[in-house]
């Protein structure tokens, strides 16, 4: 039973991991969003699995929230924004795909290296996911650094958030419910506000390329 649980959870974790790499690899915007949606879905399912195997009720709610907000609302909002500001659908990257993939791989190894002392002494069934989750966080961060469009930066942040969520589930079956809800709310508001500013950037500079945001410097 636990075995099965472990397999399922690890499997889903791997899915999340892979989707992250796909996002790194893709060069067009819409697939990003859909990949992100899939990743979030996997995350939700993983949460559900955890909830089922540890039969703790509040994680079901968390899972539901995850699926609704992360794999439905946010992707829709992002698509809507992209349509509104009519960005060209290219992802402008500072580091090309192969290099990005290699670096991401390196980051993954790094995160194993870092979390190793925790994993050896952890005692929750999902502990192996911790490394993956940290890897996802780092790679999300990497995406924010190397992709120039405002939208892609938001996406990167979202990927990081997914990594966090995974970490929360992995290490401690999620945070207290109230906190989780608060966090989801924050993320949602955050994305909305960033979208608003993306609009403003587009209005002021006729582009969402954050590379040109260099008026303020010393």
């Amino acid at each position: 039973m636990i075995e099965l649980g472990n397999n399922i959870i690890n499997g889903l974790a791997v899915v999340i991991f892979l989707t992250t790499f796909i996002i790194v690899a893709h060069t067009r915007l819409y697939p990003w969003v859909s990949t992100y949606a899939i990743q979030s879905l996997a995350l939700g399912l993983l949460a559900t699995a955890v909830a089922y195997f540890t039969d703790s009720f509040h994680i079901y709610i968390v899972a539901a929230l995850a699926i609704i907000i992360k794999s439905v609302i946010i992707p829709r909002f992002l698509r809507y924004t992209m349509d509104r500001i009519r960005v060209d659908k290219e992802v402008e990257m500072l580091v090309n795909v192969p290099a990005s993939l290699l670096i991401s791989g390196g980051l993954a190894i790094l995160s194993y290296y870092i979390t190793e002392p925790i994993i050896v002494q952890g005692n929750v069934i999902t502990k192996n996911c911790l490394a993956i989750s940290i890897a996802v966080v780092l790679i999300g961060f990497f995406i924010m650094i190397t992709r120039r469009k405002a939208i892609t930066q938001i996406m990167g942040l979202m990927v990081m958030e997914n990594g966090l969520f995974l970490a929360a589930i992995a290490t401690s079956y999620g945070m207290p419910l109230i906190v989780e809800i608060g966090i989801f709310f924050d993320i949602l508001v955050g994305v909305l506000i960033m979208g608003v500013f993306a609009f403003q950037i587009n209005r002021t500079f006729e582009t969402v390329d954050t590379g040109i945001l260099r008026r303020l410097r010393d």
């Binding site: 925790i118 207290p176 109230i178 608060g182 500013f197 303020l216």
Partner: protein, 486 residues
């Protein structure tokens, strides 16, 4: 109960100022609101300092929290009153319309609310939410003028801080994990009192990793170098009263976030580890500030960098620790809040007058606006740590701590940077204050309401330099005990 009330006031004020469409009324309400917040905070603080921490289902307020709370309320009130004069002037010169004013005060109060929430929340998770919320609320105020630069600043602000905050959340999660491992799953597994209580049982490895994430995460918001990059942009682009609020208060709130973890680690594994990280980032910040203050061309950015410097000083103070270090750092939080907002208010008057933020274009303030010049110079001397102003005492205490704890090299580097920064700062502000004023400029003070506020702030800064009331030192001494590392 009182805490709920305290949190309710700014929200109500926010809603009211947004609904009402009359400038005077808006100003009145927001002033009233802040006054009430101040009163409530004063009451809470009295309660805490006389009867010990206030606790609630989600709330926990001890001396440290109450102290920061008071600073928020005090500077917040000052900022509202200053805003009346400042926005009033811009309104009369038709630079902004009533809509913008409503928008301004709406987010002003929401911003205040979020900061209050940070201090009173007992749960680290909720504290994280609140800190993220401060970013979201203030982002709008940073982008207030909708100019290209302000939008850029706002974007950098929100993105960089969100990333940082995200890392902080990861840290929080790890802490939670360790507490769950030891305490088992429970809603208050993240509540601060519980964590400090059981700090000894927490898993050190997790704590250490967590603290790295937290100090980088919240440190981004505090403005530690090298995560400080957003700060000068945001603080210089925001409307000046908000700059004062961001520099004087928000940074301290974020610092408060770090301190909570610092205390947990102190209790768990002693002050050494987190302390040395604090010192590291403190010195980095001092260095960065020194570099950019030396060749600064924009006086609001100048002040922003000086905030980075002072956050560094505070971090060093807490990092060095010991009675003097922590006492000095706590005192420095207060001094810096007062002085920095004073400086920004002065900069606001200058900006209203000269319509430029470039240091080279500002000359002869002493001739055109004697009072502003006096307060600005006074503030400048105070902020660079000259006696007889408060900051001198707190900086000196931190230096003494360095010697008392035997951290000689750190203390000397610290002093060196202070001197360099003094030189750079004086160079800029003396060029601004003196010299032959532009021919066309008229001799007139733009903002008298603001001046009264500045006068009060300068008086307080001066008083704290000459005499520290026993009440205050008693309070600080109590707070120092919280850092005890029992």
């Amino acid at each position: 109960m009182i805490i709920e009330a305290l949190l309710a006031i700014p929200m109500i004020a926010a809603i009211l100022v947004y609904l009402i469409k009359h400038r005077r009324a808006i100003e009145l309400i927001s002033t009233m609101g802040m006054a009430m917040v101040l009163a409530a905070c004063a009451y809470l603080a009295w309660h805490v300092f006389s009867r010990g921490p206030v606790t609630g289902s989600f709330w926990y307020l001890d001396g440290l929290g109450a102290y920061v709370l008071l600073i928020i309320a005090f500077i917040g009130t000052a900022a509202t009153i200053y805003s009346i004069g400042y926005l009033g002037r811009e309104y009369e010169h038709h630079e902004i319309d009533l809509g913008r004013i409503r928008y301004y005060y709406l987010f002003f109060h929401v911003f205040i609310f979020t900061m209050l929430l940070v201090c009173v929340s007992s749960n680290l998770g909720i504290m994280w939410i609140a800190i993220e919320a401060t970013t979201l609320a203030s982002a709008f105020l940073v982008g207030f003028y909708n100019k290209d630069t302000s939008v850029e600043a706002a974007w950098k602000y929100i993105i960089i801080c969100s990333v940082g905050i995200t890392l902080a959340l990861l840290g929080t999660i790890l802490i939670y994990a360790s507490s769950v491992n030891s305490l088992g799953e429970s809603p208050d597994a993240l509540s601060w009192p519980t964590l400090t209580e059981h700090a000894k049982n927490l898993d050190p490895t997790l704590l250490r990793i967590a603290f790295i994430l937290v100090i980088i995460g919240y440190g981004t918001k505090v403005g530690f170098a090298p995560m400080h990059t957003w700060l000068p942009d945001a603080h210089s682009e925001a409307p000046t009263p908000i700059s004062g609020l961001l520099s004087g208060v928000l940074l301290n709130v974020a610092m408060y976030g770090i301190l909570r973890y610092h205390i947990i680690l102190t209790d768990a594994i002693g002050p050494g580890y987190s302390g040395s990280l604090l010192i590291l980032f403190g010195l980095l910040s001092l260095a960065a500030a020194a570099v950019f203050i030396l060749l600064q061309k924009d006086y609001k950015r100048l002040l922003a960098y000086s905030s980075i410097e002072h956050m560094g000083i505070i971090a060093i103070g807490f990092g060095i620790g010991g009675p003097f270090g922590i006492f000095g750092a706590l005192l420095h939080i207060l001094n810096h809040a007062i002085t920095k907002s004073l400086m920004f208010f002065g900069a606001g008057n200058i900006l209203l007058k000269f319509k430029t933020k470039s240091i080279n274009d500002v000359k002869g303030i002493a001739t055109l606006m004697p009072l502003t010049a006096a307060f600005f110079m006074g503030g400048g001397l105070a902020i660079t740590g000259s006696p007889p102003f408060g900051i001198f005492i707190s900086e000196l205490l931190i230096l003494i701590a360095g010697f008392a704890e035997g951290n000689y090299p750190i203390s000397i580097i610290y002093l060196l940077f202070l001197v360099i920064i003094f030189a750079g700062f004086m160079y800029h502000i003396s060029r601004m204050a003196f010299g032959e004023p532009p021919a066309d400029a008229t001799k007139e003070e733009p903002n008298y309401i603001g001046l009264s506020v500045m006068a009060v702030l300068l008086m307080v800064a001066l008083a704290l330099g000459l005499y520290i009331p026993h009440m205050l030192s008693g309070i600080l001494a109590n707070i120092v005990k919280i850092f005890g590392g029992s």
